[in-house]
């Protein structure tokens, strides 16, 4: 199986270690992974602002770069969600449909496709707060949203973290409240976005989390910005880093 690695633009630029952890983890699990050098972004920033015209060239580039892979895997729920559900600023050619249908988010790829049973190399003896991102929960169906009170709780991210030695998950007050990142929303609606970020981070802090873990680095980028400003004794970490054996 030819597996294409999709590293979103902001991970490439700001969190290369998350890209490295994703790549190493997939290799460890026996995948042969290739990272095409040309893709820049999935088009989401423009499309989310309603700018289909501005998104189309980037989306076309994305499809072009990944069309020869059997599967595309990316460590970001919101980017994968865009590719699968909203990448429609370009003509829906067979190639576009193929790439969209085969793009998988890392957590679902590990759990549902590879059916990984354990990460024997991974230990993380810390109190960890789980942030399932909004697009992962409500867009990709990776966890039961809190609104659906009559259905049993599940979270694919949690299922993976349960396989890590020593890791202790803390309970928080508002399990799937949005962190306020929201793409360009974080700058255009600065006051609301920042307040949401503060509230979210305080919820984790109040409950003793040492780390906030997520499969979505964009949320973590936002919460890290808040943690650093407030100088709280907490860190953020992408799930790929934990599953790959902890931060370097």
């Amino acid at each position: 199986m030819k597996l294409g690695l999709f590293i979103p633009c902001y991970i490439d630029a700001f969190f290369p270690e998350v890209g490295v952890a994703t790549l190493e983890l997939l290799e460890r699990l026996g995948c042969s992974v290739e990272y095409p050098l040309d893709p820049t972004c999935c088009g989401q920033p423009m499309a989310n602002s309603g700018c289909q015209d501005d998104a189309s060239a980037t989306e076309a580039l994305f499809v072009h770069c990944f069309q020869d892979f059997d599967t595309v895997v990316g460590p970001s729920g919101s980017c994968v969600h865009h590719v699968r559900f909203n990448l429609d600023a370009i003509e829906q050619t067979p190639q576009a449909q193929k790439v969209r249908g085969r793009t998988r988010e890392l957590v679902e790829f590990l759990l549902d496709d590879l059916k990984v049973v354990g990460f024997p190399w991974a230990a993380f003896p810390h109190k960890v707060g789980l942030h399932d991102s909004c697009t992962a929960v409500r867009g990709l169906g990776h966890a039961r949203p809190s609104e659906r009170v009559n259905e049993p709780y599940f979270s694919k991210t949690r299922d993976l973290l349960d396989k890590v030695r020593g890791l202790e998950l803390v309970k928080i007050d508002r399990p799937d409240e949005c962190c306020g990142f929201g793409g360009s929303f974080c700058v255009t609606d600065e006051a609301v976005s920042a307040k949401m970020g503060y509230d979210r981070v305080h919820d984790f802090h109040r409950h003793g989390a040492e780390y906030i873990v997520s499969a979505d680095m964009s949320c973590l980028l936002h919460m890290k910005g808040v943690i650093d400003r407030l100088k709280l004794p907490m860190k953020v970490i992408h799930i790929a880093q934990i599953l790959n054996g902890g931060p370097p």
């Binding site: 060239a57 255009t188 920042a194």
Partner: protein, 459 residues
């Protein structure tokens, strides 16, 4: 072109009040939690949602039939049925009826439709005294503000705000902010007006085509005073309020108050079938852009709304910024998808006042795809050339750069390039809005791409 309302600036103002924002978030989130508890007591909740959604879809796709059926059955009950194409016609019809009865003073219960039509100022300009009978709505009327929430209109105010307002307007003790005392003071003040009113007005939560009756749900029983004390009762009903049969009501009544406040049912669920003895009952069926919306494949589902407010209660943006930040009749997620349909130019910024978290879609008892519609409204705004200058310039520049790998990758370190350019690209703004409350990430030594070339591509 109308000047757009600026929800971001208004929300920032509300958040700056600190105590207002934190109290508001706590109270409104409390309603969401109560909703969760109430829903947990109804194991078949998801089936109810599905049924409610289907009934509404069926009615809306056969609306002409059901409207005529309603008119026929209501007329048989000796209800006068009027039709209004838009707000202006609605107000004129109402005024004509009031005028024919020489009405000088009117009490009304909360009606979002009458808000939407701007009815109160219209009648006041013509010499009719209008008094809101719902406590929260009365508070908003005295403050000269629209409701900030469709179920609890003054939820953005602190007790002390209400005490100050009542002290100024009805002469209570400004230091006494006990809620019971305040409610009692308003009761004493409003009672005489209720008793002397010449007419009462209500909205309607549901209108039943089969029976020609309609239902008004309140928690204060205030609609019932308006409908029972004065001899004349006028109800304004949006054409989307129709449901086919009396027995369909059970589904909606079970969901409405559970979704809104987490109570099994509203304190008062009043059914009106024709005028009471010696009285007169008029119903105004109002379109006001509803049939345009019905013709829109992307947005017609919004007409299923039963105005429960659950989407507002769950919305993290609404809870932080408050309902007045939307600057419109309807606020919160439902407002974001309704308001642009009334005036796209004025409300063009509302679809961006959302983080697209999607929670609204999951709480909505009639399964409106609210979050998807917000996303689609952004496209409409952009396609009509109504994007703000900052967004337009930012997105076009970003789109060009990201479409060209050499351009994008040419910078030695993309991170530095991004840090320097992205905020300006996004905002065209010399101040960095990210950095006001948050730190920017440090720029790593190399990008992932550079690492990959060094570690996986080199022989």
């Amino acid at each position: 072109m109308t000047r757009p309302v600026d929800p971001e600036r208004r929300a920032a103002g509300f958040i700056a009040l600190e105590l207002h924002e934190s109290t508001h978030d706590r109270l409104v989130w409390g309603m969401r939690q109560n909703r969760d508890k109430a829903v947990a007591g109804v194991p078949e909740w998801e089936e109810l949602r599905e049924m409610a959604s289907r009934i509404k879809e069926h009615t809306l796709t056969h609306l002409d039939h059901y409207l005529e059926q309603f008119e026929k059955s209501a007329t048989k009950l000796r209800t006068h049925v009027h039709w209004a194409r838009d707000a202006e016609e609605h107000n004129a019809v109402v005024y004509d009826v009031l005028n024919a009865h020489r009405v000088k003073s009117l009490i009304k219960s909360k009606s979002m439709l009458q808000e939407e039509c701007g009815m109160t100022p219209y009648l006041q300009q013509r010499g009719i005294e209008v008094t809101e009978s719902d406590l929260g709505e009365r508070i908003q009327q005295l403050s000269d503000e629209p409701p900030s929430h469709i179920v609890v209109p003054a939820i953005h105010k602190l007790r002390t705000d209400v005490a100050a307002l009542f002290a100024e307007k009805i002469g209570t003790d400004p230091k006494d902010s006990d809620p019971h005392a305040l409610a009692e003071a308003m009761r004493q003040n409003a009672r005489p007006r209720f008793l002397k009113a010449d007419a009462g007005m209500t909205g309607a939560n549901f209108a039943v085509a089969e029976t020609g009756g309609f239902v008004v749900c309140t928690n204060e029983g205030n609609a019932d005073i308006g409908a029972s004390v004065p001899p004349l009762h006028i109800a304004s009903i949006g054409i989307e309020k129709l449901i086919p049969r009396g027995r369909d009501l059970g589904i909606f009544i079970r969901m409405l108050s559970r979704s809104a406040l987490g109570t099994p049912i509203t304190q008062y669920t009043s059914h009106f079938h024709g005028p009471r003895r010696g009285g007169e009952l008029h119903v105004v069926l109002v379109d006001n852009t509803r049939s345009d919306r019905l013709g829109s494949p992307d947005f017609w589902h919004a007409l299923k709304c039963i105005r429960c407010g659950a989407c507002m209660n769950t919305c993290p943006v609404y809870r932080r910024g408050g309902g007045l930040s939307y600057g419109a009749t309807y606020s919160g997620p439902i407002g974001v998808i309704l308001d642009p349909g009334f005036d796209l130019s004025k409300y063009r910024e509302l679809p961006f006042h959302s983080s697209l978290c999607g929670s609204c879609t999951d709480v909505c008892p009639v399964k409106i795809d609210i979050s998807d519609q917000i996303y689609k409204w952004r496209r409409v705004v952009a396609a009509k050339g109504l994007l703000s200058f900052a967004k337009r310039v930012g997105m076009s520049a970003l789109g060009k750069t990201l479409a060209h790998p050499p351009l994008y990758h040419s910078a030695e370190a993309v991170g530095e390039w991004a840090l320097e350019h992205l905020p300006r690209f996004l905002l065209y703004n010399p101040l960095n809005p990210w950095g006001k409350h948050r730190e920017l990430p440090a720029v790593p030594r190399q990008t992932f791409r550079q690492w990959y070339i060094e570690n996986r591509r080199k022989p």
